[in-house]
Symmetry: C2
């Protein structure tokens, strides 16, 4: 996406965002390590399944957005740590449940057997239930106590039946039907963008955001959340298996509702770019403190896997 | 369980508890009606599945305990309404997931087809996920805001991997093995008693309980929670299908770990009675305000279905 001077700038930003993501990953992994019971705690199989799934090498984009959201309003990583853990737990539980035979029936996730292939369907369902429960327990430990109700409402809205869970239903119900733009947009907004939005907004609330600031960051999150899934659609069509780390072309074979399928590849790329620009424009009112949110917006659209 | 004068007293208490449960049921059903999206809200199938399962005619014991817990420390039903809704949502989600083919594989629940038989496994999994999410969203709306973190911790502890979810794992792992008393007690404490305990404790916290008061009510809850499941075991052996509203003898046929199986029917009855007495003794420090908790303790042990 772009070359010459722009490519140079892109590289620098990618490096900035990559370093930020790496730092966020290290920190949130330490926090998750402390938040979750050890594998030796009963019931051991259940805690093994939870740790197998959550320490599987994800990008930790959602935690990074929570940290950057807190920073953008003058808060600290410590303020947002419970949010960072919670949104990663919710993301992980959703992958475990989505991979089940009753849902998308996937055997592999990030190159390893899925949770239910290793531990069985029952343990996988319960590991997901356990992670979702821990997520809200985490949120209840946010240092800024007065923000907890608003944080929980934001995360629940993003992950519930009119957010991520509802999006999975729309996705399942859409299978085998010819995709339309409004249909694809609704699936992407609910299934992916809603939790990404909640990660940004809840991070900001945990960092002490005013009503106005949390609204700005919510608007930013909605835009990069949708852009993230459009880029996922694009990479599935264009990336090599080596770069992507998984087999591309899966969406086409599964006749999935994607942006390239309803508007073509070039218009989908433009759409993602425009969403990124609009997301960055939202941040102007927040000044320099929003730099990491801005870098992450570019990363979301310019990433190669 | 008892006759003559005691039976008379029992009858009166049963009537008191029955009226209280009926009042609690009416109120919590109104609150649930308002808390959950209508069937017409997208995704409709999901919201239909949620409402099909939660409005299926349960006893609403857990909400009643939450209300009585709040009353016992001088709080109101309005204080505890979000807790009452949340614990019923969690109870319902656990039934939906436990009934799945990957778990207990039950076709009928309270005389009606189970959620997954009507809506399919995928929607049933997602309906459970959605209910669990709404439960915590509800808790975040408790009027006594400063108590919300403690309320959430109590409910998460009771329903998570070292509570209800963990208990389901112990139950599944115990299948086909000869039951032992410590094994059965652990399953009952985790799978059933932990959420009942959390219902009482979180209700009390929502009603403004002091640390000492919430400890008393937690101790009460642990005792009646275990008693509740022992009585379930007993009724499965002794009740007629008409009284029980379902086919008795299921535990024996499934070789389930039960109290009568490890200590005989008479000792199991005595154990339940002693737990009830110990639970009632806990309440003495709370005075007359704990009357409804006391009546509910008797109901738990003396109920016929």
């Amino acid at each position: 996406m772009g070359g010459g001077v722009k490519a140079h700038k892109t590289g620098a930003v990618q490096n900035g965002a990559a370093a930020y993501l790496e730092k966020a990953r290290t920190f949130v992994d330490q926090c998750l390590e402390q938040s979750l019971p050890p594998e030796t705690a009963a019931p051991q199989t259940l805690h093994k399944a939870i740790r197998y799934s959550i320490f599987a090498g994800g990008k930790r984009l959602r935690p990074a957005l929570a940290f950057a959201g807190a920073e953008a309003v003058g808060g600290s990583w410590d303020d947002a740590a419970p949010v960072a853990c919670a949104v990663e737990m919710i993301h992980t539980y959703s992958l475990i449940h989505d991979d089940l035979p009753a849902m998308d029936d996937d055997d592999l996730r990030r190159g390893r057997p899925t949770c239910h292939k290793v531990f069985g369907d029952a343990i996988a369902i319960l590991a997901g239930d356990g992670l979702l429960t821990y997520a809200f327990e985490c949120l209840a430990s946010c240092p800024r106590g007065s923000a907890i109700p608003a944080i929980i409402k934001a995360v629940a809205a993003g992950s519930g039946t009119q957010g991520m869970v509802g999006g999975q239903v729309l996705d399942l119900e859409g299978e085998g039907k010819p995709p339309t733009l409004p249909g694809v947009e609704a699936i992407h907004r609910w299934k992916t963008a809603a939790l990404i939005t909640a990660s940004c907004e809840a991070g900001a609330l945990a960092g002490g955001a005013s009503l106005k600031e949390s609204e700005i960051i919510r608007n930013y999150g909605q835009k990069i959340g949708l852009a993230f899934q459009i880029v996922d659609d694009i990479l599935d069509l264009t990336a090599s298996p080596e770069t992507l780390g998984k087999t591309p072309g899966k969406d086409v074979r599964a006749q999935k509702a994607t942006y390239p399928a309803v508007m073509g590849l070039e218009r989908a790329k433009l759409e993602a770019q425009q969403l990124m620009d609009a997301a960055r424009a939202e941040l102007q009112a927040l000044g320099a403190r929003a730099q990491n949110l801005e870098d992450l917006a570019r990363f979301v659209v310019e990433r190669k896997n």
